[in-house]
Symmetry: C2
Subunit: 421 residues, 2 copies
């Protein structure tokens, strides 16, 4: 398998609060060409250090991609460092500087003498003009290694990369790699992994797990030039995944639970309102992350105090006193109450103990009731137990609420590893 390493250049990326994110995007693109990223590095704006690292990387990898250090200032040393690594001279290209001057003038910026430096390219290298900025990208190829120097700003990096991809990856004779992402919601990572392990795949296919809070993704990669083979393996994987993961499997690739729920509500012409206690508005925020959400979102009531639960949601005082604010009955009354108050088809409520304080033996920190009332006379309410800190409990509550709305539309019984009846 072809191996790549990625080098992010810039002293600011070695401070406690800045991070290289370009390498994530580049990794995804390289993976699409069947190229494996096996090392990543972050290094400051130092010519000698960078040229040493470039030499090492070119010795051991098939591809070396760098980001940053191509700007006009004297901190920008990628051109010089790469020339040192190649033991080559810098050659000045009038064509590059002409293009930069023209682009800057379009934006009413006067080019400075520094911009001239951006016209320099190490001898033996090719270049690609920058469609969204000034710094050109630089390409070098020999029989052992291919190197691409890309600008640091993410938009410029992507623009230049796309322009040079054809040259950079020409005649690779690699079998193409097809990726499909299967998304699962509110299932513990370990459980998903155990279940998927039983799926048998041919040698040219493999899957890996990527988990974030409340979501697990299975990335299926198939190396094949045969489209019907790719389709067959994908279909088989999906069938077996659906068998073992069941309802927890919700979507593909770029789909998010927010966009899925938005689509369900819009397609059905239903409006929704939220009644939030411990999450205090977070569910409302997530339901409106998607542009165009005014089509289905009416609003909601944040009933952090019991008084508000009574006065605005019509929750019975007796239920609050006898059963407590964190109870099935109060969750159901909140969902019905907000549906009535805002005259929507669906009402969703969340009430729980987010912690770190407020837990009891009967209702420890992490205990949350979520109810969905509607559409029509459908009703659903579950008791959950979430682990983790305040932030995790609150996020998982909104995640499970979105998930319950989704399942209402499947017409099935709701199931989740976090339900603790």
């Amino acid at each position: 398998m072809l191996k790549a390493e990625i080098i992010a250049i810039g002293s600011e990326l070695l401070t406690p609060s800045r991070q290289d994110t370009n390498s994530l995007w580049l990794t995804d693109k390289l993976n699409e060409y069947g190229i494996h990223v096996w090392q990543k590095h972050i290094i400051g704006d130092n010519r000698k250090e960078l040229s040493d690292l470039l030499k090492q990387a070119m010795d051991r990898s098939d591809f070396v991609l760098t980001s940053g250090g191509l700007g006009p200032t004297f901190d920008d040393i990628s051109r010089e460092a790469f020339a040192d690594a190649l033991d080559a001279e810098l050659v000045y290209h009038d064509k590059i500087y002409d293009y930069i001057r023209k682009e800057l003038r379009k934006r009413d910026v006067e080019p400075t003498e520094n911009n001239r430096r951006q016209g320099n390219v190490p001898e033996g290298c090719d270049y690609v003009l920058n469609p969204v900025g000034t710094a050109p990208g630089i390409i070098y190829k020999n029989e052992n290694v291919r190197v691409a120097l890309l600008p640091g700003p993410p938009k410029e990096l992507k623009g230049v990369f796309k322009r040079m991809a054809k040259k950079l990856f020409s005649n690779l004779d690699q079998t193409p790699v097809h990726t499909k992402v299967f998304k699962m919601i509110t299932i513990p990572e370990r459980r998903a992994e155990e279940k998927l392990r039983s799926i048998e795949l041919p040698d040219n296919a493999e899957w890996s797990i990527l988990a974030s809070l409340g979501q697990v993704e299975a990335h299926l990669r198939i190396t094949s030039s045969d489209t019907s083979e790719v389709e067959e393996i994908t279909r088989k994987f999906e069938t077996e995944l659906t068998d073992c993961i069941g309802q927890r499997f919700f979507g593909y690739d770029e789909e998010s639970i927010e966009s899925l729920v938005a689509g369900l509500l819009s397609d059905n012409g239903h409006t929704i309102a939220v009644a939030e206690s411990c999450t205090a508005g977070w569910l409302g925020k997530r339901l409106t992350d998607v542009s165009g959400s005014s089509e289905y979102m009416a609003g909601g009531i944040i009933s952090y105090s019991n008084e508000v639960k009574e006065s605005l949601l019509n929750v019975e005082k007796s239920a609050l006193e006898k059963l407590g604010a964190v109870s099935r009955e109060v969750a159901l009354q909140m969902a019905r109450g907000v549906k009535n108050a805002l005259a929507t088809e669906i009402g969703v409520s969340i009430t729980g103990v987010a912690g770190p304080s407020g837990g009891t033996e009967e209702k420890p920190v992490g205990t949350v009731y979520i109810a969905v009332s509607g559409p029509g006379d459908k009703e659903m309410c579950h008791r959950f137990h979430f682990l983790g800190d305040r932030d995790s409990v609150r996020f998982m509550s909104t995640q499970s609420a979105l998930d319950m709305i989704r399942v209402v539309y499947t017409g099935k019984e709701y199931e989740s590893a976090y339900v603790k009846e």
Copy 2:
């Protein structure tokens, strides 16, 4: 200056969606000891590759810190790779395994044969037991380099690092570095930087800017053993920063705008309610990020639709029709309305055009009105214009709302670069 490099170990960190974040925390800690991080690396779970990198790093750096690869499974190869790099044997320590067994049994987990591997430490190294997990940390020191192998899970990394810091940094003979962070809210990064540039500092002091959305931090670092000198420079810097930044400077170090506002409300015994349109609950969520927020937070009304603004917040139909939902008058009526409906001392409202659609020439995307009503008969309302995508506009709206609540308690007029009256 002493130089460190940090190596994050784990094949999952080389995928398109996972990122090493431990190195940010470690960089901050190393900087506190006056140690400069000059390279960072990310490498997969491969024994030979890691041991090669460790050898190189030990040759060129004063400190080498690694994270990950210390777990019980056969993917975890840090112990073996480091032994290879040192050309040493692994020595099994009964004490480590005894401790791990005890810890696992406390959690009702039966130790497996694999956990035994965690008892292995390369000859010539010292170890530190893990206060929050099983994997011990490993330390090595010779006259040229000091190496620390830390576990990957962030809580375990921090716990083990704190336990080994004294050993790792003993007898450094470095002049201590004192850091103080000055926090500024809703000021453009460039403007803060330009203003601070006029501050003159002695050679042993420097500042740098770290910006995130809606917040800019100035990190002041003073290298000195003289406490009164440190105090004097800090005082001078703060005085000049206050002069040029004014009201936008709000706190120090770990303080957040959420915790500051929580403190102001609690200390004054005031309750608060929110009326949110375009942010749809995000402000409520942030006001309750802090544990103990039930002391001041009553709740709120998410009035995403105009009907809800009328029915639950008592906004006049005529104001909505004549001036539009995104207007000064409607924002003020929303703030008053929620204060009355929830019977609190303070009501805060947000109404705006988050985009990407919905903008007009008069009220382009990013136009947001924020009002604060109370405590008492105080009232404040401003028109803002925020740049960026939907998420940025919505976040900046909640950030500015929190900021306005803060400024109410200073008794001063509100000022911000984002106010566009």
